[in-house]
């Protein structure tokens, strides 16, 4: 099971920008400081000198000379609230990279299904940007249209957004050529109705309830547990 991964290190990069995506979600960009990572990994981030740190998947592609993370401000969250208040030039504490949500080099020619809820799309932003030739389908579950978080980044023909609480946006986007596919309902409902080729490698990222449900649905479609990779957000 072991594979070669990058050696984690600690750095104190400076903030480039805080890019607001919604009232609760933003992208934090900062110096890379030479940190090597494999697409799909995460870093631990906090304010410089503050012992409280949280883990975030790397959002930016591996070629970028900066690092980005996608952050949702959590109610009563400590780190996510402080990070949002940062200004360009402020210093951070960043440890990493960590994690095993990786695509093996030998598997890159295969068919992939990426399933995300909310900010769980972050590692897929990195993976699709880092491996432009991937044959993938991305199914992203969110409540409203605004939570599709920079969907223009992805190949439109490969993305399906499942909107659970935004019927107006579903109606507006229906058939509109500038939009990726948008459907009403939850990600798991979509998966249930759209059987997957059992040979597909399935990557799941988001809340645990979704992952559990999707895990069972995909198994019922004949996908072996060893082909299911999961990253739980909490």
């Amino acid at each position: 099971m072991a594979e070669t991964i990058q050696t984690p290190k600690s750095t104190t990069p400076r903030v480039h920008e805080v890019r607001e995506l919604t009232s609760t979600t933003y992208v934090l960009r900062f110096d890379r400081n030479g940190m090597e990572f494999a697409p799909g990994q995460y870093v631990s981030v906090g304010l410089k000198g503050d012992i409280n740190m949280r883990e975030y998947s790397i959002y930016s592609p591996v070629e970028a000379d900066y690092l980005e993370i996608l952050v949702r401000e959590v109610d009563e969250g400590y780190v996510s609230r402080l990070l949002r208040g940062l200004r360009p030039g402020d210093e951070l504490e960043v440890d990493g990279p960590f994690g095993f949500f990786l695509i093996d080099e030998k598997a890159r020619g295969r068919r992939f299904l990426f399933i995300a809820t909310g900010t769980g799309i972050s590692p897929f932003h990195c993976l699709t940007g880092s491996y432009p030739d991937l044959d993938y389908e991305l199914v992203h579950g969110v409540r409203t249209g605004e939570e599709r978080y920079e969907h223009a980044w992805y190949d439109r023909s490969r993305v399906t957004s499942c909107l659970s609480r935004d019927p107006d946006e579903v109606a507006r986007a229906d058939g509109a050529p500038e939009h990726a596919k948008v459907v009403a309902g939850r990600v798991t409902e979509y998966l249930r109705d759209h059987p997957v080729d059992p040979d597909t490698l399935c990557y799941l990222c988001g809340n645990c309830d979704m992952i559990y449900e999707a895990f069972d649905i995909l198994k019922s479609h004949g996908v072996a547990p060893e082909q299911l990779y999961a990253e739980v957000y909490f």
Partner: protein, 543 residues
């Protein structure tokens, strides 16, 4: 000046305590087990369970109350979560991470704690920036039957030096880079508490981020100790006659993964570290058993198992924490393996070193664990046929990721699940132990038994055996015991004789015992297959 130290939690904390004691004693403090007598009171904290951290709060509350009566100083180290650290700052006089241990004499001076010994140590520290390293031999209790060895450059134990008014310094292990401050505390040679069993830290911290665990937030990142320093410590222990050496780390078999760039040039990985310890056995010819704990299944490569098979000093005992036998629970725990992948490792162990015993750790009642998911764990317990399982009822720990989830399995259910697994374990281990009745097994005698007139020890596979004897000289020695009676988790036998201390002379006895363990495993698995065929749990895979 006396100190009292309270180590809580795991073997790593015990090992860290040995180094803390070495520092305090080098400063002239004497150990006392009576806390009321101590001038300096410390605790090595554990954050794995709330109960352990509650003990820290209880102690410091009591100690601070004593301050009204007399002058005492308190300190805390060990595994401390950020939230607790903030509270401890107000309650304890000194707080330091184990990585900061080399700076403790300076911290104590800054706090106003000055002893003649600490002043000399400070003078030396000031003068040694450009000077040669101080190299003190660790303060080693005399192991029974061991001829002490002295190598050129060794100094007497620091505590003895302090008592004689001679040179005092923090005892330092030689041959090690001073470049990385995080590795500084490993320089400190510990005051081993046992004369025959030693714990050697090789790695600290964790990068795995299991959701039930707070260690990544209390111990920080995985840092591997330089291999030349580990090998020097092991060699010294072997020369001093130690017979049980346990390599310690939060992810012990991730050793070296944090130093991959260095590894290409000078550093080694975990299988190679084991190989070099195996070679110490070959070189010295001395008989000892090397263990390691706790490993992560993800890094349990074939190379680790293969190298154990090659060397007699690498003990046939594998601790392989599964935590759950259900894939979805493993996902929620962020364990990064599937049951099928775990199974493949066990198959490799059974095929390569079938004489090895197998231990595990399991958590029952983790957030959201259903009856069906628990049934998977129960099935795993049967399938993997453990000799020992450390089963814990889940309790959320503030700071761990899972603390943000509901602890939604009732205490009664957790207790019932723990009980069910204990029953399974006892059935399985009893079959194994029964197959050993009548065999003669090597044992490392550890202590007196609770039963009057008996001593107790462990086999190479860490199975507990007691035998009738009042000869305390046998403690710390290898003996042969013939097994007469067994229970699920222990055995009783008759002393046959004392075994040789060299690999060559004990080779036949070892091979005979390995044969017995292999037959016991086969008997245990055979019984399991018969049970399954009879309708017990047909269809499960055998390993």
């Amino acid at each position: 000046m006396r100190y009292h130290l309270v180590p809580l939690g795991c073997q790593m904390n015990q090992s860290d305590s040995e180094r803390i004691r070495a520092v305090l004693e080098s400063l002239g403090y004497r150990r006392t087990d009576v806390e009321e007598e101590a001038d300096l009171l410390g605790v090595v904290a554990c954050s794995v369970r709330q109960k352990a951290i509650d003990k820290v709060y209880t102690r410091i509350h009591k100690w601070n109350a004593w301050k009204k009566e007399r002058a005492i100083v308190t300190f805390v180290s060990g595994c401390i979560l950020p939230a607790d650290r903030e509270k401890f700052v107000d309650r304890f006089d000194l707080i330091f991470t184990i990585n900061e241990l080399p700076q403790v004499p300076e911290m104590m001076q800054q706090f106003g704690l000055v002893t003649a010994a600490s002043l000399r140590a400070a003078d030396q520290a000031a003068g040694r920036a450009e000077a040669a390293e101080y190299i003190d031999a660790p303060a080693v209790p005399s192991p029974p039957g061991a001829a002490p060895t002295t190598s050129p450059g060794d100094r007497p134990p620091s505590a003895a030096a302090a008592a004689n008014g001679g040179i005092v310094s923090i005892p330092i292990i030689p041959n090690e880079s001073r470049a990385d401050a995080k590795k500084g505390y490993w320089k400190i040679a510990p005051n081993y508490t046992s004369g025959f069993e030693a714990f050697v830290p090789i790695q600290n911290g964790c990068d795995k981020f299991c959701t039930f665990c707070a260690v990544p937030y209390t111990r920080g990142r995985e840092v591997s100790r330089p291999s030349d320093e580990i090998l020097a410590e092991v060699r010294r222990l072997v020369d001093d006659g130690y017979r049980s050496i346990t390599l310690l780390g939060q992810n012990v078999n991730s050793y070296g993964l944090d130093r991959q760039s260095e590894r290409e040039a000078t550093e080694i990985d975990f299988p190679e570290l084991l190989r070099r310890i195996g070679e110490i056995g070959r070189e010295t010819g001395r008989r000892f058993w090397t263990y390691f704990t706790s490993p992560h299944p993800r890094d349990m490569t074939d190379a680790v198992i293969d190298v154990i098979a090659e060397y007699p000093v690498l003990a046939r005992q594998i601790h392989l924490p599964i935590q759950s036998g259900d894939d979805k629970v493993l996902i929620r725990m962020n364990r990064n393996y599937r049951v099928s992948e775990y199974r493949r490792i066990v198959e490799k162990i059974r095929a390569t070193i079938p004489e090895a015993s197998l231990f595990t750790d399991i958590i029952v009642g983790f957030t959201g664990e259903t009856d069906e998911q628990f049934a998977g764990t129960r099935e795993a317990m049967r399938e993997f046929a453990y000799n020992m399982a450390y089963v814990a009822m889940y309790s959320p720990r503030p700071g761990a990721a899972s603390a943000r989830w509901d602890d939604d399995v009732t205490h009664e259910t957790k207790r019932a699940r723990l009980h069910a697994l204990s029953e399974e374990l006892q059935k399985i281990s009893l079959r194994y132990n029964q197959a050993l009745i009548g065999t003669e097994l090597p044992l490392l005698v550890e202590t007196t038994d609770r039963k009057d007139g008996y001593l107790s020890g462990k086999t190479e596979g860490k199975l507990i055996v007691r035998f009738a004897s009042t000869d305390h000289e046998l403690i710390g020695r290898f003996v042969t015991v013939r097994i007469d009676h067994v229970t699920p988790l222990s055995m009783e036998g008759t002393l046959v004789g004392v075994e040789p201390d060299t690999i060559d002379e004990s080779a036949q006895l070892t091979e005979r015992a390995h044969g017995a363990y292999r037959r016991a495993l086969a008997a245990m698995l055979e019984t399991e297959v018969e049970t399954a065929t009879a309708g017990g749990h047909a269809g499960q895979r055998r390993v």
